[in-house]
């Protein structure tokens, strides 16, 4: 790796204090991290540790009134709030936890996919539909032309998650943020989605930040792992390191939980530095 290219994403001491709370009590507390092009960073932690808020803050989507401090650098350049808005959906995309509620039930799949394209590629409007079809195929949805005309409630959970992915990929982002991408799915579908994410990294060279409480997922996906507790980073290292010698108590607890669910904790073959 060329050490003079700046990392894709660099976060320095990011803190988020929710609205209406004076002093202390930050949901994200001085978090720093780095993501290189084409690498997969996993962020693990129990619910409430601030991982979702971290992702939202990266995109500039913290709840109204929240105070955000710290620095976010994209390809070496500082991101002001407006800058983040320009990149959303285009260079950085996000996939949310519950596909049933994260998709607008009142709009067709086609509308929801195409509007991303229309927004960021206004000159190429005519290709929106074919691009959408392409993406649906890429995420493994059968009969994509039929699906385009349907509404979210007509699709199964797994399909909806794939649609969310397709939507995020419309403009071929450099970085994908995934918040609990497999939590609301059943086991077989989970495995398929994880495979899909790995394939996408191979084919598109896309970087990924995966947030989850399930260490088993990170074992299969992540190159590096960050563990959060109460808004702070308590552990950081390559996947094999963190799994082999967990330092923080929080990490150990998460690994225990994963082990009890009988998921293999062995790191994936291609991971680690």
């Amino acid at each position: 790796m060329n050490s003079t290219t700046p990392p894709l994403l660099q976060v320095n001491a990011l803190s988020v204090s929710p609205a209406g709370v004076q002093g202390g009590a930050r949901v994200v507390d001085a978090v720093s991290l780095q993501v290189q092009r084409g690498r997969i960073l996993g962020i693990a932690g129990e619910s409430g540790c601030g991982k979702t808020q971290l992702l939202l803050a990266l995109l500039g989507l913290s709840p109204r009134g929240a105070r955000v401090q710290g620095q976010v650098l994209w390809q070496g350049q500082a991101l002001p709030a407006q800058g983040a808005a320009r990149l959303r959906g285009d260079r950085i995309a996000m996939v949310f936890q519950d596909p049933m509620t994260a998709l607008n039930p009142y709009l067709t799949i086609a509308t929801q996919l195409c509007e991303v394209w229309h927004r960021h590629r206004p000159g190429a409007r005519a290709q929106a539909n074919s691009r959408a079809l392409e993406m649906l195929q890429a995420v493994g949805i059968d009969q994509p032309s039929r699906r385009l005309k349907q509404y979210p409630h007509q699709l199964s959970g797994g399909m909806r998650q794939r649609v969310m992915l397709a939507m995020a990929l419309m403009c071929e982002p450099d970085l994908l943020l995934a918040d609990e991408p497999t939590t609301s799915l059943d086991v077989t579908v989970q495995a398929q989605i994880l495979d899909l994410l790995l394939q996408l990294r191979e084919r598109l060279g896309m970087a990924l930040i995966v947030v989850t409480h399930d260490m088993g997922v990170l074992a299969q996906l992540a190159d590096e792992v960050l563990v959060m507790e109460s808004g702070r980073v308590v552990e950081h290292g390559s996947t094999s390191q963190v799994f082999a010698v967990p330092q923080a108590l929080a990490t150990q607890r998460l690994l225990e939980a994963a082990r009890r669910l009988d998921i293999s904790a062995a790191p994936a073959a291609g991971g680690g530095t």
């Binding site: 959303r88 996000m94 949310f96 509620t101 509007e115 969310m164």
Partner: protein
């Protein structure tokens, strides 16, 4: 969809049956007949007239006769206006009611929706608090209060608009009645939309829309507004009931010759057939309005495809 409509119309029949029966027996059970007010009538003539209107027959027979008429679309003769049938009176009064009612509803939507949107988008700001207080005021002022006050202000004091009278439906005569009738609905719709929009804006799919990089107005108009309008559309059905009530007050206040006026006069003068005819007509209008609101809802909400 046609099956849905047919089914709904069919389901409305018990309601109509209840209305007809209820109104009929109430009117007949009350003390005093339709001609009591005409003290000057000689007994012999009264007997003849009562026979002509079949009032001397047993009540059950009168009922059957009446229902038979209804089925044929005949509401019977009016008792007050000796040579006019109720059908004719309805034909005269209904267009007025429909005009004012529809215009009031449109005005309510035209004013209420933007007010509600502003209040929701500028939540807790001065604009929001002002809109909310105004809306609450609008809800607290019934039409029979605003109507005379509006007349006092615009007609009597300022002489800008006529104080009443239909005037062949000239637009100047329509302004005050339509505005007075619509005010409570502007208020209701504004409040409804504000609450609904605030709720929709918290939905996860709105966050997704932002994450896709859509602009504020795209998020609002394409993603938030349609679901937010659903409760407003659902409200249109019950609103029509209120508009009917309101039109009674409006016609009384402004001296308009609509169904509401006929109804009140008829109730006072015990004009059985007129009162029942108008009541039944109101029932039918309510059913149709509810049906229209439901169809509109189905069109907006893909989860309710017919």
């Amino acid at each position: 969809m046609l099956r849905f409509i047919a089914w709904r119309l069919l389901a409305a029949l018990p309601t109509l049956a209840v209305i007809i029966t209820l109104a009929f027996f109430l009117l007949h059970a009350a003390p005093g007949g339709p001609f009591d007010a005409d003290k000057a009538m000689v007994p012999e003539i009264r007997t003849v007239i009562e026979a002509r209107y079949h009032l001397d027959e047993p009540v059950a027979l009168q009922y059957l006769r009446y229902v038979g008429g209804i089925v044929r679309g005949d509401f019977g003769p009016s008792f007050q206006y000796q040579n006019t049938s109720v059908n004719e009176l309805i034909a005269q009064g209904l267009p007025i009611d429909l005009t004012i009612g529809t215009l009031a509803l449109l005005l309510a939507l035209l004013l209420g929706v933007p007010l509600g949107m502003v209040a929701a988008l500028r939540r807790n700001s001065l604009a929001d608090r002002a809109c909310t207080a105004l809306a609450l005021l609008g809800l607290s002022l019934p039409v029979y209060v605003t109507a005379p006050l509006l007349i006092l202000l615009f007609a009597v004091t300022l002489h800008w608009l006529p104080a009443g009278d239909w005037g062949e439906g000239a637009w100047r005569n329509l302004v005050l009645p339509v505005v007075a009738l619509s005010l409570p609905y502007v208020a209701y719709i504004a409040r409804l939309l504000r609450a609904s929009l605030l709720e929709v804006l918290q939905a996860p799919y709105i966050r997704t829309a932002w994450a896709k990089g859509l602009s504020g107005s795209q998020v609002l108009w394409r993603h938030a507004l349609r679901p937010a309008l659903l409760p407003v559309v659902a409200f249109l059905g019950p609103a029509s009931v209120g508009l009917i009530t309101g039109s009674i007050a409006i016609e009384t206040s402004f001296g308009l010759p609509g169904l509401g006026r006929y109804f009140v006069d008829g109730a006072f003068n015990r004009d059985y057939t007129l009162v029942m005819g108008v009541t039944i007509l109101y029932g039918v209008l309510i059913v149709l309005a509810n049906l229209a609101a439901d169809l509109l809802q189905a069109w907006l909400d893909p989860k309710v495809r017919l």
